[in-house]
Every structure is written in C-alpha cells, then in structure tokens.
C-alpha cells in the first residue's frame, strides 16, 4: 500500500470531522502515544534493570550461602545447614529454592521438602575454580535465576539458589499499571483541555461564519468581536473593515440609484411634456395654418374657373389634406390628447385601431374592471407607453398576425398583458441595441412605479409581455 493511499485514507477520516474533533484527536493521540511509548520504554528498562539486579542478588546470596555453609558442611551440621537455607528463603522473598549438593552429587540440604524436582541438580553446575555460574531456568513457576557457587573450592560441594522473577514482574506490572493510570488521567485532562481549547479556537470562527452569512444576505451592520490578539483576531479585524467598506459602497450605490431613478423620472416627465407641447403646437399652429391654406385654395377655385388651375388647386388641396392627416397622426403618436382627456382605455382603443390600420394586424383588446376608471396620470402614461412600445416592436419585428391585449384591474393593481403569435426572439441572445433599449425603457417605466415587468419569448413561440403596477405606491 502506497504512502499516498494511506494518507488519502487518513485524510478521508481526518478531513471529514470538525475542528473540535481534530484538536481532540491531536491532543488525545499525542497523550496516548506518549503515554504508551513511555510505559513501554519504562517497562522494558525496568525489567532489564531489575533482572540484572535479580541476577546480582542471586549471585551475592549464593556466595553468602556458600561462605556460611562451609563450616556447617565440614562438621556435618546438616540441621544448621537446613536452617541456614530456610532462613535465607524466609528473609528473601525472591528466593524460590535453595539447596546444597556435596561433591558426590548428594543433596545435603534443600528447601523443597521431601524431594527435589526432577532434573534440577543437572540444570546448573560450577567448577571448583569458578566464582559463580548463573543460568536462567524456565520453570513452571516462571523464569528463575539459578546461581551455582562452589563451596570451599568445591571440596564441600556446591550451593544453589534460585531467585524467582515473580516479584520483579509484580513490580514491573505495578509500575506499568501506574503509568497507564497516569496516561488515562492525563488523557481525561487532555480531553477537557482540548474541549476548552477548541471552544476558544472555534468560537471566533463560528462567529465569523455567521456574520459572513448575514453580510451575504445584505446586513452590513454586522460586526464580529475580536476575541484574541492572534491570527483569528486579525481575520476578524479584516472582516469588520471589509464589512464597513461594503456598507459604504452599498450606501453609495443606493444613493446613485436614487439619483438615477429621479433623473430617469424627470427625463420621462420632460419627454412627455415636450411631446405634449410639440403635439399641441402641431395641432394648433400647423393644423391651423394648413386649414387656412385649404380655405385659401377653396376660395381660389371660386374666384377663377380655369380648369387647369382647378386641377392644380385640387392636387394642392389633396396634398394639404394628406399633410394635415400626417401632422394629426404625428401629434397623436407623440401624445394623444385623448389620453389626458378620456383616459387610458380610450387612448389605447384609439392607438390599437391606428395600429390595425397601419400594420394590418388583428388585435383583440380586452378590459376588465376599469372601463370608466381614471388612473393617475403617471400610471396611465407609463402603461400607454409600454403597450405602445410593445406594439411598435410587434409591428416592426414580430411578423405576427394576431395580437391580444388585456388590461385588468384587480386587488389594487393594474395588469397589462400583450401577447402575439409572431416569430419571437431569443431573450439571452444579443439583439439590436435599439430593441434592447426599448425593452429596458419598458422595464424602467414599470420599475419607477414599483411595478413588475416580465417578458417571455422564444424563437417561433411568440412573445408575451406582462406588466403589473400597484395603484398606490408603497
């Protein structure tokens, strides 16, 4: 298994858990690793040291026994020799057994009792000029350090003492137990410390995450507390500075938007006024002049009966009438006075019939809930202009046959819907700048009245336009 895969497996676990668990894992892992490592190390070192000590003790005890047993063996005081062995065993808890063999291999004294374990004598022996010989015996009661020491250069026999490892094991186990207990206690303290540390570390981070969400939702007033003078504290500071900048930027943008809206409103109002003035001028002055001209031409035919002149004057009269009609249409388009005088429905009826005539379209016009009702001039103008723009677009681009226009008043809102069966267009695709500007104009007009503007269209699927304007703002 490659190291990379191992790391991936590790990260699959470590990466998926929370910072809290990570810190806890680090602390607990380190404590356990350290605790177990030290326990193992101490255990081994202690066992080694105590085994060495056991061997030394075995040697010194056996040497001592050999020295003290010499005279007892020489004077054949076997009872005292036995007592010597028994006392040595009584005074040294580690002594598992002791016995003395004479040069002929006879057991002179032993601590086993009635006999001696089979094969025991043969397991160790020391030659007469040896200081001692220690072997480790594997017995049914554990390992035994068996030392043989010649007595009186072997002339009086050999002393044998076996020291059991039991007390060493007990001591080592006791120390191991204590170390493990310490490790567990330190682990518990570590868990508490890690929990506290995690709380300290994650509290500002959670704060930051929450504040970031709030800022994302537009609440620029949120500030996070700088908990500590560290990197996370710096981050909090930077976050607060950023939020402040964002708040200022948002403020500026809102002000600019306000200005823009005001500006657009005024431009539209000025445009309407200008159109109204031009329409009135055209109607009043140009129509007046043309009427005078037609009257003048009529008078002229009355004065002179020349047929040639008659014909020419008739032509001129026709031109004048056509020009008058053109001026009339232009004035109507600029600003139908019927809108101001009779209201939206009448103005639209007039405009729609004009469109039928001009574009040869079949146009249905349905009105619900506001036949006699007059709306505010701003709403009437906006809706009129939106429908006008929509029909201009249909007439110019849609190649439609039928258009349906719906005007409805419901729940304090006025809804206008214009649908056609034309070629439609791809809303996402780049279109002509003029058309896009036209759409934007409709949108702006609706937005100025806090209305909603929706346009749905797709190639070969026709177009439907939906405008909803509340009657009372706010």
């Amino acid at each position: 298994m490659s190291l990379r895969r191992l790391f991936q497996q590790f990260w699959a676990i470590a990466g998926a858990v929370s910072v809290r668990t990570k810190i806890l894992g680090i602390v607990l892992g380190l404590v356990l690793l350290l605790g177990l490592g030290i326990t193992l190390q101490v255990r081994q070192a202690l066992t080694r040291a105590m085994d060495a000590q056991l061997e030394q003790q075995s040697i010194s005890l056996t040497r001592d026994l050999a020295a003290r047993a010499t005279d007892l063996i020489l004077i054949r005081d076997l009872y005292a020799l036995h007592q010597l062995l028994v006392e040595m065993q009584a005074n040294n808890a580690d002594v598992r057994y002791a016995f003395v063999v004479d040069p002929q291999g006879q057991i002179l004294a032993n601590t086993f009792g009635a006999g001696i374990p089979e094969g025991m004598v043969e397991t160790n022996a020391a030659t007469r000029d040896e200081h001692h010989r220690t072997v480790v015996l594997n017995t049914d009661a554990g390992f035994v350090w068996d030392t043989a020491v010649p007595i009186f250069e072997g002339r009086a026999g050999t002393a044998r003492v076996g020291l059991s490892e039991t007390s060493v094991n007990r001591a080592v186990d006791s120390v191991t137990g204590q170390l493990l207990l310490t490790t567990v206690l330190v682990s518990i303290i570590g868990i508490a410390a890690a929990a506290f540390l995690t709380w300290i570390l994650t509290r500002p981070i959670l704060d930051l995450a929450e504040a970031t969400q709030a800022v994302g939702q537009g609440d620029f007033s949120r500030r996070v507390k700088r908990w500590a003078d560290d990197e996370i504290g710096d981050l909090a500071e930077a976050f607060n500075a950023m939020t402040g900048d964002l708040a200022r930027a948002a403020q500026e943008r809102a002000e600019r938007e306000q200005l823009r809206v005001e500006y657009v409103k005024r431009i539209i109002a000025a445009q309407e006024d200008e159109r109204k003035r031009i329409a009135r001028e055209l109607h009043d002055d140009a129509s007046q002049a043309l009427t005078s001209l037609r009257v003048g031409l009529k008078t002229l035919t009355d004065i002179c009966a020349d047929p040639e002149l008659h014909r020419r004057v008739t032509d001129l009269q026709t031109i004048a009438a056509q020009t008058m009609q053109g001026i009339h249409d232009l004035a109507l388009q600029l600003r139908p006075s019927v809108l101001d005088d009779l209201g939206l429905v009448a103005a639209l009826e007039r405009h729609l019939s004009d469109c039928r005539r001009r574009y040869g379209l079949t146009i249905d016009f349905a009105v619900h809930g506001l036949s006699d009702m007059r709306l505010s001039p701003a709403i009437e103008t906006a809706l009129y202009r939106i429908v006008q723009e929509a029909l201009t677009n249909i007439g110019r681009h849609a190649q439609a046959h039928t258009v349906s226009v719906l005007l409805e008043h419901r729940d304090g809102k006025v809804v206008a819907v214009v649908e056609d069966d034309g070629v439609g267009f791809d809303q996402g695709a780049a279109d002509s700048a003029g058309r896009r500007l036209g759409l934007f104009g409709m949108q702006e007009r609706a937005a100025l009245l806090s209305g909603k503007f929706t346009l749905e269209s797709a190639p070969a699927r026709g177009t439907s336009l939906f405008v909803e304007v509340p009657l009372k703002e706010g």
Binding site: L36, T70, D71, N110, A114, I116, F152
Partner: protein
C-alpha cells in the same frame, strides 16, 4: 482497516510485555522426586577425625596434605571427619566410626578414662610435646591477670577444651568463684582461632587459647598478634595427641603408628611428607606415654565436673 492497525499495536505491546529469555530448559518445581539414598562406597575409607581446635575450614585446609599423604601411603581413600564439639568426636571414636583422630588433651583424658581411647603418637613442636593455655586480652585492655577480668565478657573455646575452658575455670576457682559468677557473660566459640578473633575484634574481653594454635594463627595472620596481648601462661600440659579407637585392628594401629612416627625421616626425601608436617605446623610425630597427661587429670579433678 483501523482495527487492523490497532490489532497490530496491541500485539506489539503484548509481545513487548512478556520479556525473558526463551529456549531455556523447562523445570517443574512442584514435581518433586524423592532424594536418593546414601550411596555406599565399595571401598571403606580411613576416617580421620580432627577436633575443632581451629575453625572447620582452617582444619580442612591444614590437614588436607597430611590426609593426602596418608591416603597415598595406605593406598586407601581417607575421609576427614569434623564435628562442632569434642564430645561429638569422642562419641564417633567410641563407636568406631572414626579410625584415627587428632583430639584435644582433655578429650583424650576423658576418652581414655571412659572407653579406653588409645594413644598413637604426639606431635612435637619446637622440640617439645607440651603446650600451654594462654590468657589473652585485647591489645588496649588494661588487664594484667585473670583477676582484672572480673565482670567482663569471656570467650571459651570448647566446653571440653583443656586450655580453652578447664584451665581458665581452674584460675577462677583459685580466686574462690565460678565462671558464671566471676564473668559478666561467657560464650563458646568452639574453636581456638575463633576465640582469638573474638578477642581481637573486642567481642570478648578475654579468652584462654591453645598456645600452639595462638602461635600458628599469629604466624598466619600477624594482625591477630597486633590486636591481642598475652597476660598469663599456664604450666605445661601434655600436647593434644593422636589417638585411635579401641576398635581399630592392631595391625592397622601398628601400621598407622609406624607411618606417623616415620614421617620425619620420610620428609627428608619425600616433599609430600614434609609438606604435610609443615601444613599442621609440627616438627614430627613422637610416641608418648599416658603419664604425660596426669597433670591435666589433676587439673580436671581440681575443677570438678564441668557442665
């Protein structure tokens, strides 16, 4: 995956815990086998007892060359027999377990009078066959005689020893007392060199020892002489003799006697004989008459029964 690693770790810990060498032979300590009966040798050795004049180990070392010499000359194994007390040795001689014995003077007197212990030879040291009881005290002790040891701690050698117990008891009786009343405390060391060491170490304020042992011990360990002081010497007593059991066959007795008495001449050409004599610190073995021990008999009579 994780459990496998954990398993490996635990296995490692467990193996690390069970330390100790492997491959050693297995012995079942609880499986006891009865002790074998004493093997009786085909050849019966010549058993030589040496009374514990000096410590058993010192005795074994000193007498080994002599025993080796006897063994070589008799063409027979020789076994050294030692016991803590003179009485035990005497019992072994009486029963015939021991053939030849080096006994203390008073032990000979007792054995001779009780069961007919027979004199074989006597060692001659510095041309004499006598020895003395020497009263010694620590070097810095102000004592000038036995009278100055009143209320002190006194070390006896063997309960039966002439020089180590009978003579100092005699001296105390002369002063109209008994050792139990006279001394604050007494104890037995069972050998003369241990009595010297007890005085040298200050464990005893005084002791009476065999002059031969004292000279021999001091020659071996001069510090003993530096730390002890002689304050009284007894009249001469018959030297501790070499004896045989009354059960010994006359032929063996004659053979042994000839061997011992001839050792000095043998030593001129046999280094082993010379070595054997030197090791026990004597010039030669000479024949001796029972009358040489009459003075001891008188002393014992004067002291009375010793308990």
């Amino acid at each position: 995956m994780l459990s496998r690693w954990l398993g490996l770790l635990i296995a490692f810990l467990l193996t690390a815990c069970s330390s100790g060498p492997s491959g050693a032979p297995l012995v079942h300590l609880s499986n006891l086998k009865p002790l074998p009966a004493e093997v009786s040798s085909d050849v019966i050795p010549l058993r030589v007892a040496v009374a514990a004049v000096v410590s058993p180990k010192g005795t074994a070392e000193s007498y080994q060359p002599l025993l080796d010499y006897l063994s070589a000359q008799l063409n027979r194994p020789v076994e050294l027999v030692q016991r803590r007390t003179y009485t035990e040795i005497n019992d072994l001689i009486e029963s015939g377990f021991v053939d030849l014995a080096f006994v203390c003077t008073s032990a000979y007197v007792a054995g001779h009078d009780k069961f007919g212990m027979e004199l074989l030879a006597a060692p001659q040291v510095n041309g004499e066959t006598v020895y003395y009881s020497m009263l010694i005290v620590p070097r810095d002790s102000p004592a000038q005689g036995i009278a100055d040891l009143r209320g002190k701690v006194f070390a006896f050698t063997d309960p039966m020893s002439n020089s180590g117990r009978v003579y100092p008891t005699y001296l105390v009786k002369q002063l109209g007392s008994t050792p139990e009343q006279f001394f604050a405390r007494t104890f037995f060391t069972y050998s003369h060199d241990d009595a010297i060491r007890a005085v040298a170490a200050g464990l005893a304020d005084g002791a009476a020892v065999d002059s031969l042992v004292y000279d021999f011990a001091v020659s071996r360990d001069p510090t003993l002489g530096e730390r002890t002081r002689l304050i009284h010497r007894s009249p001469p007593f018959g030297i501790p003799p070499v004896v045989v059991s009354p059960n010994v066959r006359p032929q063996l007795k004659a053979e042994l006697q000839a061997l011992l008495l001839g050792m000095a001449d043998e030593a001129l050409r046999n280094p082993r004989a010379q070595n054997a004599l030197r090791a026990i610190g004597i010039d030669r073995f000479v024949s001796i008459d029972d009358s040489a021990y009459d003075s001891v008999r008188e002393l014992l009579k004067a002291v009375g029964s010793l308990e």
